[in-house]
């Protein structure tokens, strides 16, 4: 008998068991996803002797991993919301924190790493096949470069948002989370633009533009120090505040979840 399984505090062994179950439950869906990727590439190879994912700088590999990862994140707590399976999920002998931790580890680290390894392997295979077919092969996609790691950093933050969305929304969590994120971005964009306008106006230039994706203002009149501060505020908001908020909010949604309403 494993003493760590029995304890009342956080148990890594229990979290690992939950994680293992998650991976085993997802395996068939992931297999289908993999088959779709291979199928699409096989079709393009039949048509043009090139594997589409290995061209266009490998952007499709990263895109496929990010999109499938976010779709999985949005389904992270599907079983918890289920009318029948939900009670079993809630009463599985692991604490809400252990269950939540397993989901975060699964989608923020294990899935992207595993998917990237598989993608690298497939890309290498496609490269060899293209070469053998007498075509100029596309480059082998690898995850070990700065751009992909940056994409992972973006994905990791977005994943926490979609995990929180999954903990909150029972139906169409991906669409609801996306819509909510867009609404927040829109409001935040307006507020920042207004703020920028006020700051820039005080410096005599009202033609400033705000680039949300880079958190910078396109203006010559804003002092460098304000630009730097804005950039850091933006980075902290994206890489610290947003994921911390999402994780805390998501955890409490899981903790407070009760079995679906029914009177018998």
């Amino acid at each position: 008998m494993n003493a760590n399984i029995q304890g009342s505090g956080f148990s890594f062994e229990r979290a690992a068991l939950v994680l293992r179950n998650r991976i085993m439950e997802e395996a068939p869906s992931l297999g289908i996803g993999l088959a779709v990727v291979v199928g699409v590439n096989a079709l393009t190879f039949l048509a043009s002797r090139t594997f589409v994912f290995n061209h266009d700088n490998g952007a499709m590999w990263a895109f496929a991993i990010v999109i499938s990862g976010l779709l999985l994140c949005a389904q992270a707590f599907k079983a918890m919301h289920d009318g029948k399976a939900g009670t079993d999920w809630l009463l599985l002998p692991a604490s809400p924190l252990e269950k939540f931790t397993a989901a975060v580890l699964d989608y923020v680290i294990i899935f992207p790493v595993a998917a990237a390894l598989v993608a690298t392997g497939l890309s290498a295979l496609f490269h060899v096949i293209e070469q053998a077919a007498g075509k100029i092969p596309g480059p082998i996609w690898t995850f070990w470069n700065v751009e992909v790691l940056k994409a992972w950093a973006f994905y990791a933050v977005a994943a926490t948002v979609f995990i929180a969305g999954s903990a909150s929304f029972r139906k169409i969590p991906f669409l609801k989370t996306s819509a909510m994120a867009m609404a927040y971005i829109f409001v935040l964009g307006i507020l920042l633009t207004l703020g920028a306008w006020i700051v820039v106006r005080s410096h005599g230039n009202i033609d400033a533009g705000f680039h949300f994706e880079n958190f910078n203002f396109e203006t010559e009149d804003i002092p460098k120090s304000i630009e730097d501060i804005t950039l850091w505020v933006g980075r902290i908001a994206w890489f610290v505040v947003l994921p911390v908020f999402s994780l805390v909010y998501g955890y409490f949604r899981v903790f407070e979840k009760e079995a679906r309403d029914e009177v018998q």
Binding site: S8, K84, L91
Partner: protein, 301 residues
């Protein structure tokens, strides 16, 4: 031990329980009886921690089930009326789910699977309703948990399986364990559940042990209600099913059943709680016959 203290609970604006107090001691198989919608399943889910009270508190062996601590969850099993099972085989289920329960007895589980004739090579999702129920009950019995919460365990079971379930449940009633069984089909478990807890109108109407019931009441089938200490009567096709008050100094067992029919006790508790209370305390009141049974009597004349 399961303890409800001034517990209130409801769904939305609908209040189901208000200020409910209840103590369930280890070593007994409690029968939770109530009409449809009385909140039996909700009570079980509150004990399990799947629902949380709006006011008051619940403790299971001294711990708040609402916190869903892993050690408490491993020490209790809730078997719903229609159990959900994943699309894996029993061996896979053991590897994935029994691993969370340190006291799970695999040998006992396999023996119960054999006893209940469950196919070990079949996907659990291919099981029939009754088979899923048997599987979930086997898992509960082998779990080693001190709290077993069973919601309508006999629904969907065939007749031999009901007898098997009674035998298995009787073996599960250990001194340190609390077993709570919610059921509509009280006759299926009549000689097993003791005491009975009757839930009605958002409160616990009665908690009655078999001994307490047997001391004051017995049941009988009569052709006429005249001259008998009838507490409660229901007309059937050939006469009256009645609850009789045991008369002091008279051995009623000779002429009537040794213990009262629990369905009649339940009906009496819901329709005529004052009559039942009076009978249990030895007082006498005129027989209570539900109106629909009086009409049936008149029509038969």
């Amino acid at each position: 031990m399961i303890e409800f203290r001034s517990m209130s609970f409801g769904y939305g604006k609908k209040n189901l329980f208000s200020g409910l107090d209840l103590n369930l001691e280890p070593g007994s198989v409690y029968g939770l009886l109530g009409l449809n919608g009385a909140g039996k399943t909700s009570l079980l889910k509150l004990m399990a921690g799947a629902l949380r009270p709006q006011e008051g508190s619940i403790e299971v062996f001294g711990k708040d089930p609402g916190l869903r601590r892993a050690d408490l969850l491993a020490d209790m099993v809730f078997v719903p009326e229609d159990p959900w099972l994943p699309a894996i085989k029993p061996e896979g289920w053991l590897d994935r789910y029994a691993a969370f329960r340190p006291l799970f007895d695999r040998g006992r589980f396999m023996a119960l699977m054999d006893e209940l004739a469950l196919d070990k090579d079949k996907l659990l999702t291919k099981y029939s309703y009754g088979q899923r129920k048997k599987f979930a009950l086997s898992a509960a019995m082998a779990s080693g948990a001190r709290t077993l919460l069973l919601d309508e365990p006999t629904n969907g079971l065939d007749i031999p399986s009901k007898a098997q379930l009674r035998r298995i449940l009787a073996a599960a009633a250990e001194p340190g364990r609390v077993v709570v069984v919610s059921t509509h089909q009280v006759r299926d478990l009549e000689h097993l559940i003791d005491p009975i807890v009757i839930v009605h109108g958002g409160r616990i109407l009665f908690t009655l042990s078999n001994e307490e019931l047997g001391r004051s009441l017995c049941s009988a089938h009569l052709s006429s209600l005249e001259g008998k200490p009838v507490v409660y009567a229901e007309r059937d096709a050939v006469g009256w099913s009645v609850l009789l008050a045991r008369e002091p100094g008279k051995d009623s067992e000779a002429e009537e059943g040794a213990s009262p029919d629990l369905e009649l006790v339940f009906d009496a508790a819901i329709a005529a709680p004052d009559h039942l209370t009076a009978a249990l305390s030895g007082a006498s009141l005129p027989a209570y016959v539900p109106e629909e049974h009086l009409i049936a009597k008149e029509a038969n004349r």
